[in-house]
């Protein structure tokens, strides 16, 4: 039992990078939500901001690595899994709908995350007198997470239906679907 090169990249793209991003969301959201001068002391604010800025840039970086690895490395999908899915009408929607939505909407996440990380780093505590700005950043952060969620959920299901190494094996699709 071993991971092939393709399976290793699937693990890096979805199980490592994607999972870290989704897991980091709660921490980032809590820190962004509680970024209020009334809730923190001066020292607490300094620690809070440092953690928030580092966390946001890490999330932005991870989201970039996830979409880049998905677009430029995870190309074996088009060689095997996609052919299998398109060849079988029962599951075609997983390519024409799910994969299409996933690969496009996923690219909005790093753009929005970079924006959020930049604004927090640029303004630091100077953004505290502007609650409207903080609210906009929270909404952008939530939208970025929602897009990543769509990509992650569909990616997981597609991998279940047509594993990335499917093209390496011979199969009788009609026989598999008939079961």
């Amino acid at each position: 039992m071993e991971l092939t090169n393709k399976e290793l990249w699937v693990a890096i793209h979805g199980m490592i990078l994607g999972s870290i991003y989704l897991l980091a969301f709660t921490g980032g959201f809590t820190d962004l939500w509680s970024l209020k001068s009334t809730l923190l002391t001066n020292k607490g604010m300094r620690v809070h901001l440092r953690r928030l800025i580092i966390g946001m840039w890490i999330m932005a970086l991870i989201s970039w690595l996830t979409v880049i690895s998905g677009t430029y490395i995870y190309t074996w999908y088009r060689e095997g899994s996609q052919l299998f899915i398109r060849d079988n009408p029962k599951v075609t929607d997983w390519d024409t709908f799910a994969m299409e939505w996933k690969i496009h909407i996923g690219w909005t996440t790093p753009i929005l995350m970079t924006c959020v990380a930049f604004v927090i780093s640029y303004y630091r505590s100077a953004m505290l007198p502007h609650p409207c700005l903080r609210r906009i950043l929270i909404i952008l952060f939530l939208i970025a997470f929602a897009a990543a969620g769509v990509a992650a959920v569909y990616g997981t299901f597609i991998s279940k239906i047509a594993p990335i190494n499917l093209g390496d094996f011979t199969w009788n699709s009609q026989k598999i679907l008939a079961q």
Partner: protein
């Protein structure tokens, strides 16, 4: 940097530039995805790397639009204080449109 020391007066222009350009980047992703779906010539033009298909050009174009618009808006707005309500509204419209345009049943109707 202590919180008490960071009470500098800053304009909201740089934040507005970052938010609007990111929203524009998302919106352009939707527009280029539709153009690639609608016109085969654009689809070929946006296929920057054969192995991945038109998503390379669709995402690449959106990133270029995002970064160029960010620089331009930053230079234009850095000393200004635009209305955050208006910025939030424009941003919400652009991002909502991007989600609608990127929904496969929608972009296939064009």
């Amino acid at each position: 940097m202590e919180f008490s020391e960071d009470s500098r007066t800053v304009t909201l222009g740089p934040a507005v530039a970052a938010i609007l350009s990111a929203s524009l980047g998302c919106f352009s992703l939707g527009v280029t995805a539709i153009l690639a779906e609608k016109f085969s010539s654009i689809k070929i033009l946006l296929t920057w790397w054969e192995h991945s298909g038109p998503i390379t050009g669709v995402s690449g174009t959106a990133i270029i639009i995002w970064l160029v618009s960010w620089i331009i808006l930053h230079l234009l707005l850095k000393r200004r204080n635009p209305s955050m309500f208006l910025v939030g509204l424009v941003s919400a419209i652009l991002i909502a449109l991007s989600w609608i345009l990127l929904y496969p049943p929608v972009y296939r109707t064009f």
